[in-house]
């Protein structure tokens, strides 16, 4: 049933694209003469060689991809490409282990933003550029994954999103649908990134930083070229601009696409997720600002609000920028932010976690069961955006939540087994499975993942992939049933 060669063929194309993508940091290195040119040249050459080899290996074996091939392609693409993306890092830093480089690359491509590097400001600009560009490319992949591929594969109730996406829908073939959708959404993604770059430049960044941070803002990735992240600029205007773009990137890109087509802001009001998404964020920002002001973390109300707004939005949208070490806030605040990262961002965005769509469905399902207890014979349909949701989809969503919960527990326990304390273990798990980035304690906003050992980093790399691929896509490849005919 699975067509390994056809999948490899598609992979070879992705690999060649990756090789091309290395041309951009190579150009940056060339222009700025920052001494990292050789790393990108080597990386590009090796990646192109791998791509070429795969191409030759699968020559003439190109087939139409079917659903099961889709799982394999997505899983192997997201797990395999980081190996190649890590090559320039390994070449440039002689003492960087492959585990660490792979962690960094996975963190970039899954738009997590966790880093093992300390002293980012001192790195060659092209290396930082590559990290940020990887996040941006990862974001492109995620949008297509979330809107075109996963609904088709029927992962975790994402069939729900089918009707709302641009592109042909009836077709059961993966490729035409993916290309159609991709074109439309990437246009939106590209346009907003451009707007973000210009806005950040106007708000005070230099061009290179503006472009890099636009990359990592739109992908909700959160990597930065400065150890201090946004505290480096300490500019309220810049923070406000960034908040606006993080909020945009946390919405469904097909809604943005609809806006382009309909030219009316009503698309956001009628979106099943956006009002809840903005509502949860607003309330949380205000509550945490109130808490900070109350305990006296900030003397003035205005600075409490500013700090709360930026960091809460950044964490909840799974971006992971910081403007202050919020790990020092009363423990309720960072914990609540971590939990928010699990459910706030919209489906079809570059954010991660279980997504607001599923959260709303779940809330409705809980209410429904409560009613059913009172009226055992009543037929109680669940509606979302005016449409009745099939039981099948609710099952899928519930199973998704279940597996999500179990994954968090298992990874936290495994990290505890490796000797981590509970807050670090739990926050690392949440930060990685939600593709957020910073956790708490030593991996908190003012720390990095550099202090972790190889086993922990490998586990967390897998966790990031698990979260990014909505669990099932990755897990399914490891079931025997998948490989049977």
């Amino acid at each position: 049933m699975v067509q390994p060669f056809a999948v490899l063929h598609a992979l070879s194309a992705l690999t060649l694209v990756m090789a091309l993508a290395m041309g951009v940091p190579l150009l940056v290195a060339e222009l700025l003469d920052d001494g990292a040119r050789f790393a990108f040249e080597g990386g590009m050459l090796a990646t192109a060689a791998v791509g070429g080899f795969l191409r030759i290996l699968t020559y003439g074996k190109q087939r139409e991809l079917r659903v099961r091939d889709g799982f394999l392609l997505v899983a192997s693409g997201w797990a395999g490409l980081p190996v190649l993306a890590a090559l320039p890092l390994v070449l440039y830093f002689r003492d960087l282990s492959l585990t660490r480089a792979y962690f960094e690359a996975v963190s970039a491509i899954t738009t997590t933003g966790a880093t093992v590097f300390v002293g980012l400001d001192g790195l060659p600009p092209s290396i930082n550029f590559w990290r940020c560009q990887l996040q941006w490319m990862g974001g492109m992949g995620i949008i297509v994954l979330a809107i075109a591929i996963l609904p088709m594969l029927g992962v975790g109730g994402s069939q729900l999103f089918k009707a709302e996406t641009p592109g042909p829908m009836k077709d059961n073939k993966l490729t035409p649908r993916m290309t159609e959708t991709a074109k439309a959404l990437w246009l939106v993604y590209g346009l907003i990134t451009l707007a973000c770059t210009i806005a950040m430049k106007l708000a005070g960044m230099d061009w290179l930083d503006a472009l890099m941070h636009a990359f990592t803002t739109m992908s909700l990735g959160g990597m930065s070229s400065h150890d201090a992240s946004f505290a480096y600029w300490n500019s309220p205007v810049l923070e406000a601009v960034t908040i606006a773009f993080m909020l945009l990137a946390g919405m469904n890109f097909s809604t943005h696409f609809l806006l382009l087509r309909k030219r009316s802001l009503s698309v956001y009001a009628s979106d099943p997720e956006v009002p809840a998404y903005l509502g949860v964020l607003l309330v949380s920002v205000l509550v945490i600002a109130g808490l900070l002001w109350w305990v006296g973390a900030y003397p003035e109300w205005a600075s409490a609000l500013r700090m709360s707004a930026f960091n809460v939005v950044s964490v909840a949208t799974t971006t992971g920028y910081t403007s202050v070490d919020y790990g020092l806030w009363p423990v309720f605040a960072p914990m609540w932010m971590l939990i928010m990262s699990g459910f706030t961002s919209c489906s079809g965005s570059t954010g991660a976690g279980i997504k607001m769509m599923r959260t709303r469905l779940m809330a409705q399902q809980a209410v429904r069961e409560m009613r059913r207890i009172l009226h055992p014979k009543a037929v109680l349909p669940i509606r979302l955006g005016g449409r009745v949701v099939e039981n099948q989809i609710i099952f899928a969503v519930l199973a998704f939540m279940l597996v999500y919960g179990v994954c968090i527990v298992v990874v936290t326990l495994l990290l505890a087994l490796s000797g981590m304390n509970i807050v670090t273990a739990f926050s690392a798990t949440m930060a990685c499975i939600n593709n957020l980035g910073p956790g708490l304690n030593e991996i908190g906003p003012s720390g990095t993942y550099a202090s972790l050992n190889g086993v922990q980093l490998s586990l967390l790399s897998a966790t990031m992939l698990l979260g990014r691929l909505e669990m099932f896509t990755l897990l399914i490849v490891f079931t025997p049933g998948f490989w049977r005919r």
Partner: protein
């Protein structure tokens, strides 16, 4: 109003009967002349008069109880009885606040085992007898609740149990069914308690301790008359017996009843829950023993195994005895034990948590969704003990898990918001919601809940009530639909 009169009338009867229960500690107090008999005189008077007055006032409105009244009745019983049960404690211990006393009695009647009292060895024996007896009485209530009432109310997929319980099943009226079932189950419960008490006495406890610990073992409560809990005796024989009886009490009393009636061990073999319960406990004991031995927590392997066996079984069955401060074991071990307490015990036992039945169903549901992704059109039934489980029940169970997860998160957040550290907050929330007793951190096995402030104590009290009544029973009272006719 007629509806409430019926419920209140029945409640009054229960309160009046409850007054009789205080005769036992009174008798103990008189026999041993421990100076606490005045407390029971007053308590019996207050409780008896309240019950009688309530009965007289509501006598007129009596009619057959409907399932919907069951919710109100159950919640009232479990929140009113602890209030009356506090009287002896408040009278004898003048320094004790009502908040703490109510926490203590709620902990007793929900068979939790969390305590705010220290210096237990110095208390009058009758006070300890009262605490332990409350657990035993609570256990009786819980078993009837679990096997007869909740299935009828259809809480969280409990309908599944209907077919397996003794007593008439068809009618919708609560009282005859509950009475029938109760008789059968209490017989088993009593037998097990007597056996347990005799074994303890034989193994070296004095008569009074043997009775008290039999009470709290069979109810899976965990109160003890010694601050050191089972470490007081430091006897491998007593610990082994306790393990046996905790395991027996963790199995559904419905299964015990069937086994007793048929005089055969086969019902246990066909009880899918019991099998899973024993396997999980066995595997976890081995895992924890191996793990802490490798980390050198105790000197030699037999000692390690002995400690692991007793404490793992005690925590997994939500009893909460301890023979050593397991919180100082490497973090993975206590964390895993805490996890075990959420799902290990069987659904017809006095244990807490989500119960093994739901855990098994959830596991199958997750597998089913994986298979469904590969085979989108396949019909895959979920089976338990050879029977196909209806979708409706799976929905109810999934919703239950969801509400459980959300409640655990919210209680943890609420406790962190009041400045508890994360470990203490999370473990207290889990220990109370699972009706386990000791948590970790500040509320660990060597400490008590006295460190909590009033607000935190009330949160924990509420958590115990929620966990005991399987969440939905309480939450349904908070919906407007419940109060409509």
């Amino acid at each position: 109003m007629g509806r409430f009169a019926t419920v209140l009338n029945l409640l009054s009867v229960v309160v009046a009967i409850f007054a009789l229960a205080m005769l036992l500690p009174l008798a103990v107090s008189l026999t041993l002349e421990d100076g606490a008999e005045g407390a029971y005189d007053l308590a019996i008077l207050i409780t008896g008069v309240a019950g009688f007055l309530g009965w007289v006032v509501t006598r007129g409105g009596r009619r057959e109880l409907q399932p919907r009244d069951g919710f109100l009745f159950v919640v009232l019983v479990w929140s009113v009885l602890p209030a009356f049960a506090t009287v002896p404690l408040l009278v004898y211990l003048p320094g004790l606040s009502f908040t703490d006393a109510y926490f203590e009695t709620m902990s007793a009647l929900t068979a939790t085992g969390a305590t705010v009292l220290s210096g237990l060895d110095g208390l009058p024996p009758s006070i300890n007898v009262w605490r332990c007896m409350l657990q035993w009485v609570g256990g009786m209530g819980i078993i009837v609740l679990a096997v007869a009432i909740l299935p009828l109310l259809g809480v969280g997929g409990r309908q599944l149990l209907k077919a397996e319980t003794p007593g008439p099943m068809k009618e919708q009226q609560l009282t005859p069914r509950i009475a029938q079932t109760a008789k059968g189950l209490w017989l088993v419960y009593l037998l097990l308690t007597v056996l347990c008490g005799l074994s303890y006495a034989w193994a070296g406890m004095d008569g009074l301790d043997a009775m008290m610990h039999a009470f709290t073992t069979v109810a899976l409560g965990g109160f003890s008359s010694h601050d050191a809990s089972f470490a007081y005796w430091n006897s491998a024989l007593i610990e082994a017996l306790a393990v046996v009886f905790m395991l027996a009490a963790g199995v559904s009393f419905g299964t015990h009843f069937v086994a007793l009636r048929r005089v055969s061990l086969r019902p246990y073999r066909f009880d899918a829950e019991a099998r899973a319960f024993f396997s999980v406990c066995g595997a976890s004991v081995a895992l924890v023993a191996g793990y802490i031995f490798l980390h050198g927590a105790h000197d030699n392997f037999p000692t390690t195994a002995r400690y692991a066996l007793f404490n793992v079984v005690s925590v997994a069955t939500t009893t909460g005895y301890s023979t050593t401060d397991y919180a100082v074991w490497p973090l993975f071990a206590p964390l895993w034990m805490l996890m075990l307490s959420t799902f290990s015990t069987c659904s017809g036992s006095a244990g807490g948590g989500i119960k093994m039945m739901r855990a098994l169903l959830m596991f199958q549901q997750a597998l089913r969704e994986m298979m469904r992704i590969v085979h989108p059109r396949a019909l895959i039934p979920v089976k338990l003990g050879g029977q196909v489980v209806e979708n409706n029940i799976i929905f109810a169970v999934l919703a239950y898990m969801l509400v459980y997860g959300a409640t655990l998160t919210l209680i943890t957040m609420l406790l962190t918001a009041t400045q508890l550290d994360f470990m203490t907050a999370f473990s207290a929330a889990a220990a109370c919601l699972n009706n386990l007793g000791p948590g970790l951190g500040e509320v660990g096995p060597t400490s008590t809940y006295a460190v909590l402030d009033d607000f935190q104590t009330w949160v924990c009290t509420f958590a115990m009530l929620l966990g005991r009544l399987e969440l939905m029973t309480v939450f349904v009272l908070l919906t407007p639909a419940f109060w409509r006719r």
